[in-house]
């Protein structure tokens, strides 16, 4: 065995250690697309809230309960529809670009490390979803956007141990925005758009620039 073989062996060991603990195929392009869908969703939500204010004279963030067919219920249904569409579009883009990156790297999309990322994202996200359902149930509409940001940020920090470490900083930024938003409950949508839209686009662009550009694009 010569020196080159020893070096190869060491770098093999390092590669196997990294690959078996971290899922490295998360795609920056997916983040950019998710950010764009969040901004589009926020724009629609903003219009829905403005229409509601124009027709009822009330601020949408103050919605408490209202019976079926009431303007408040209608506002709730419209916002939920927009939120659901944004979620589907963002997840679809994230999965597609991650799948594409994994294929390009010649790695499996669903291996032990991907499962770890999924479980560690899912625990805070699922708790967050139930927590937000509780907020809505109690009519605390103004706290929904900050809660989304905080729980999403915690999920990212939690999963960062098993994927690209930079995601930790995105998580911390989301948590900070969520806390700021908590003290500005009438600007929830603004903070939401900043966190899910602008931050995702910035983060996605950085990740793409650092890890994904093809040699031809450099």
């Amino acid at each position: 065995m010569n020196e080159q073989q020893h070096l190869d062996t060491l770098s093999d060991i390092k590669r196997i250690m990294e690959r078996s603990t971290r899922f490295m195929s998360l795609s920056g392009l997916g983040g950019i697309c998710a950010g764009i869908s969040a901004l589009a969703g926020a724009w629609f939500a903003q219009r829905i809230l403005a229409d509601y204010k124009a027709s009822t004279g009330r601020n949408g963030y103050d919605v408490v309960a209202g019976g079926a067919g009431s303007p408040a219920m209608e506002l709730f249904a419209k916002l939920m529809l927009v939120a659901g569409l944004v979620l589907v579009a963002a997840l679809a883009a994230g999965f597609y670009f991650t799948w594409r990156k994994a294929r390009r790297q010649g790695l499996p999309v669903w291996d032990a490390s991907a499962r770890k990322v999924f479980v560690n994202l899912a625990i805070p996200l699922f708790s967050g979803g139930l927590f937000i359902a509780g907020l809505l149930y109690n009519g605390l509409t103004g706290l929904v956007a900050p809660a989304c940001l905080v729980f999403y940020g915690l999920a990212l920090v939690n999963a960062s141990k098993y994927t690209i470490t930079d995601i930790r900083y995105l998580g911390l930024a989301e948590i900070a925005l969520g806390i700021l938003g908590l003290f500005n409950p009438y600007n929830g949508l603004f903070f939401w758009a900043l966190g899910f839209g602008v931050l995702h686009i910035i983060y996605g662009t950085l990740m793409w620039w650092r890890y994904e550009r093809l040699p031809a694009e450099r």
Partner: protein, 98 residues
């Protein structure tokens, strides 16, 4: 001193070295995850795993998920020590040659 003497013969196989690398950084790994990561056949992997087990470098845990057997592996204290000194020997050889 010639550091070649510290290289561990058992780790000369790339597959055994790969198994040990994975076990160093994961508490427990299933047979299937090892197989997928190292891209080897069942029989080949099983024979390397039993060599490592015979040398006391890894522990086997047999469990069940429903009715399917689920065998997982973890590293032993001895295995960790052997792997670390093998790594140190590799590094020493690179320095020795420079």
């Amino acid at each position: 001193m010639n550091p070649i003497g510290n290289l561990n013969k058992i780790f000369e196989s790339r597959i055994r070295l790969g198994v040990m690398s994975m076990l160093m950084v994961n508490e427990e790994i299933s047979f299937n995850d090892l197989k997928e990561m190292l891209e080897v056949t069942d029989g080949n992997l099983a024979s390397h795993l039993s060599t490592l087990e015979e040398n006391g470098y890894l522990k086997v845990h047999k469990g069940f998920i429903g009715r399917k057997t689920n065998t997982t592996y973890s590293i032993t204290k001895n295995g960790e020590k052997a792997f670390k000194s093998h790594l140190a020997a590799l590094e020493a050889m690179i320095r020795f040659n420079q």
